[in-house]
């Protein structure tokens, strides 16, 4: 058992629990600050301090184990700045970032965002890519972001890093990534009715015949 302080109150909980499980163990029914419970959704951003340590740390409550003398406070979410844009009208140039998120150019290089990242990403680096309009690189470096917003809570320049990266990824996905021709061709073929007969014939067969087709179909190696 370890001792933790949840929202200021002291509880004894098994040392194997995550912070989230420790809250439930201690009697809290979670309504906010709980999502996928497995590190994918970023809903459970939590701040904590270990007694005697000056540093206020941040983590995801679902994937961080409790420690002895841990002081925990959760936030329902970190409110981020999300600028609105029309994806059909924007262009993947440096200008759009200057226009929507000019504060990224105020980055002082403190690297607090990177140190705080719950996913271990090089956050300051992906912001540097965004500054230079290098969206493919920004997209790749930020790809594993769960948008918990812990980075932004540490930023002296007021940057909403996850939203900057979100814009970069959409620009990359829509405009910069290589275009997929076989997808367009297949969509057109379907619109032209090329597969209608094939599939309707299949659907119309007696069930035993469909079973036979299924059980003997060739499987691509």
């Amino acid at each position: 058992m370890v001792h933790v302080y949840l929202f200021g109150k002291k509880y004894a909980v098994p040392a194997s629990l995550t912070i989230m499980e420790a809250m439930e163990y201690s009697g809290y029914q979670l309504v906010r600050g709980c999502g996928c419970r497995n590190g994918f959704c970023g809903a459970c951003a939590t701040v904590y301090r270990i007694a005697g340590d000056r540093e206020l740390k941040a983590c995801l409550a679902c994937s961080t184990k409790v420690e002895d003398n841990m002081y925990v406070a959760t936030l329902p979410f970190f409110p981020l700045v999300k600028e609105v844009y029309n994806i059909e009208e924007v262009k993947p140039t440096q200008q759009i970032m200057m226009q929507l998120y000019p504060e990224i150019y105020s980055c002082v290089g403190c690297n607090a965002c990177t140190k705080a990242c719950t996913q271990g990403l090089n956050t300051m680096q992906y912001i540097a890519y965004a500054q230079r309009g290098e969206y493919a690189k920004c997209a790749e470096a930020s790809f594993d972001c769960v948008m918990c917003g812990v980075c932004s809570s540490r930023c002296p320049a007021g940057i909403s890093h996850p939203q900057v990266a979100m814009l970069a990824r959409r620009l990359n996905g829509k405009y910069l990534a290589p275009h997929c021709d076989h997808l367009d061709e297949r969509v057109q073929e379907i619109l032209d009715g090329k597969y209608e007969k094939l599939i309707e014939d299949l659907m119309g067969k007696p069930i035993e015949e469909i079973k036979e087709l299924y059980n003997t179909r060739d499987i691509e190696k």
Binding site: V31, R32, G35, F40, I87, D144, Y195, L198, I219
Partner: protein, 536 residues
């Protein structure tokens, strides 16, 4: 690093056999073998875990015991009233649920000029979609066709799918991928733009498109961003606790509840889309789950009480590879993509006991057999498990493959001191997906006029088992479809006087059937609070 000596002993057997195992291509089971395996070991066949519904449109049909208690449960409105003449919200289209299906529907309804309101009991995007890892199917390669996709899905679902829905799913799949690409979703592609696709269990062509192993997260965050860009109003942390009808019996809104203050509100709408997702958090048969915190079958309860029929509510999907160790991630999803890119299932003795790409129900049953009847499981604190031999992936495809193709899996285990590039991982089936759900027609409408449904809350698209990658696909295809249809319908709807009379009808049915327990539904959230020392 594993500390348990028995586990380590077993790992050494797995390592010793790895080179020989990698060369194996285990044969697929015959149709008869599969049928026998399922009947003996699949949880859907444990009769004592199901009961017949005593009331409602599916009266007499079997559903999981836990679900029956909610479907037959008491309304949260019991003893409370709201003023239906003074709606707090009004919209053309009310969408209940802020996951992949709800957001896809919202975007299309907005595109069609409707005023849209999205309500969700957590935050928009906190949903199973966010947690989907492996990929999304679409037959867009030259050696593939929608007909082949149909055959795989129809057979994989035991020939029980509603054909018109499956037809829609497979023929609109390439367009769904195109739509997502145009929104900026980053699919894995070769430098020339060709989609990098792999197999999933039960596919006969490599048609699994992915965004690393964050496929659902990448789709969900993009859809959410688009919903916000369009200025569609989203009400977070607000659940729907009952549907509202009008005097003509058509769906016309919902009673909403603030999850914290419990304040009740009325949302009035011309059409309603239920996109509330699945039921993993009901933990059927005591299984752990890979599902989101909010997956408690609310949509089934709301619609059933209002008179909508369910299809295949007795069939659930147990994902074969839930994390079985360590305890902190017990039940968490280990994506099927781990097997798609080369890892095999291996028992405690280091033996490969099946082809790793059988369909999910067959794979799950096979693992359960290995851990029970055959006694070849590895003991863990939670029970028995088998190995998923991840180091095989890099032995086959080279160093760096795991970090590039399945970074989320690498991170999930690394957080607990296990390096999946060097050590195999322990897996056991976890409750993953609700195959059944609300019956809809191809236009997305349920049995109740002006009540549409999309996503996991729907039943019948996949039959009695779903293939990997067909759920991310169905939330997009049927989410968009519901958004288009519901917004189009809203143009001609005149809403009559609002009423909750279906609740008293349901209460009468309960009384007549002698149901007198106080279980409230919908459940809204699971209860994980430790019961010891808990006051009333």
């Amino acid at each position: 690093m594993y500390l348990d000596s028995k586990m380590n002993e077993s790992i050494r057997k797995v390592e010793a056999a790895r080179e020989a195992n990698m060369k194996l291509d285990p044969r697929r089971m015959t149709a008869e073998e599969k049928e026998n395996l399922l009947k003996t070991f699949h949880p859907d066949y444990r009769e004592d875990q199901f009961v017949s519904l005593r009331i409602g449109p599916n009266k007499g049909e079997k559903v999981p015991t836990e679900l029956a208690a909610l479907l037959e449960g008491k309304s949260r409105m019991d003893g409370l009233t709201v003023d239906l003449t003074k709606p707090d919200y009004e919209a053309d289209v009310l969408i209940i649920g802020g996951g992949g299906a709800g957001c896809s529907a919202a975007i299309e309804a907005n595109e069609n000029g409707a005023s849209v309101l999205v309500v969700t009991k957590l935050r928009v995007g906190d949903a199973n979609t966010m947690m989907a890892e492996g990929g999304i199917q679409a037959a867009d390669k030259p050696n593939d066709s929608p007909a082949q996709h149909f055959l795989d899905a129809f057979g994989g679902g035991h020939f029980a799918a509603q054909k018109d829905l499956l037809y829609k799913l497979v023929t609109e799949a390439p367009e769904a991928i195109q739509w997502l690409s145009k929104l900026g979703v980053e699919f894995d592609k070769a430098p020339d733009g060709t989609m990098i696709t792999t197999h999933g269990g039960g596919t006969s062509r490599k048609r699994m498109h992915a965004a690393k192993d964050y496929s659902g997260a990448e789709i969900m965050r993009t859809l959410r961003d688009e919903v916000l860009n369009r200025g569609i109003p989203v009400v977070d942390f607000t659940s729907a606790i009952e549907l509202i009808k009008d005097e003509n019996g058509r769906c016309a809104g919902a009673v909403l509840m603030n999850m914290e203050t419990k304040e009740l509100m009325v949302a009035k709408a011309k059409t309603v889309i239920l996109a509330t997702g699945g039921a993993g958090r009901l933990h059927y048969q005591g299984f752990p789950t890979s599902n989101h915190y909010g997956a408690t079958a609310d949509g089934l309860v709301l619609a059933y009480r209002a008179g909508a029929r369910l299809l295949y509510p007795d069939t659930l999907q147990y994902h074969p590879t839930g994390a079985a160790f360590p305890a902190q991630i017990y039940g968490a999803l280990v994506t099927e993509k781990v097997r798609s890119v080369g890892a095999m299932l291996v028992n405690a003795n280091g033996e490969v006991f099946m082809n790793p790409l059988e369909t999910r129900d067959v794979s799950a049953a096979s693992i359960i057999r290995e851990c029970t009847e055959r006694g070849n499981g590895v003991a863990t604190p939670e029970g028995y498990a088998v190995w998923l031999d991840t180091p095989m992936i890099e032995a086959k495809h080279g160093a760096g493959t795991i970090e590039k193709r399945i970074p989320a899996m690498m991170r999930m285990f690394a957080k607990h001191g296990i390096d999946i590039r060097k050590e195999p991982i322990l897996v056991y089936p976890t409750l993953h997906y609700q195959n059944g759900g609300l019956k809809i027609s191809a236009n997305g409408q349920t049995d109740i006029e002006n009540l549409y449904a999309a996503g996991e809350v729907v039943g019948g698209i996949h039959g009695r088992n779903r293939l990997m990658g067909n759920s991310l696909l169905d939330i997009i295809v049927f989410g968009r479809n519901a958004g288009k249809e519901a917004s189009e319908k809203a143009k001609t709807v005149q809403v009559g006087e609002l009423t909750l009379s279906h609740l008293s009808t349901y209460n009468t049915l309960r009384a007549e059937a002698g149901i007198d327990d106080d279980k409230m539904s919908p459940q809204l959230l699971p209860d994980y609070v430790r019961k010891e020392n808990r006051g009333k």
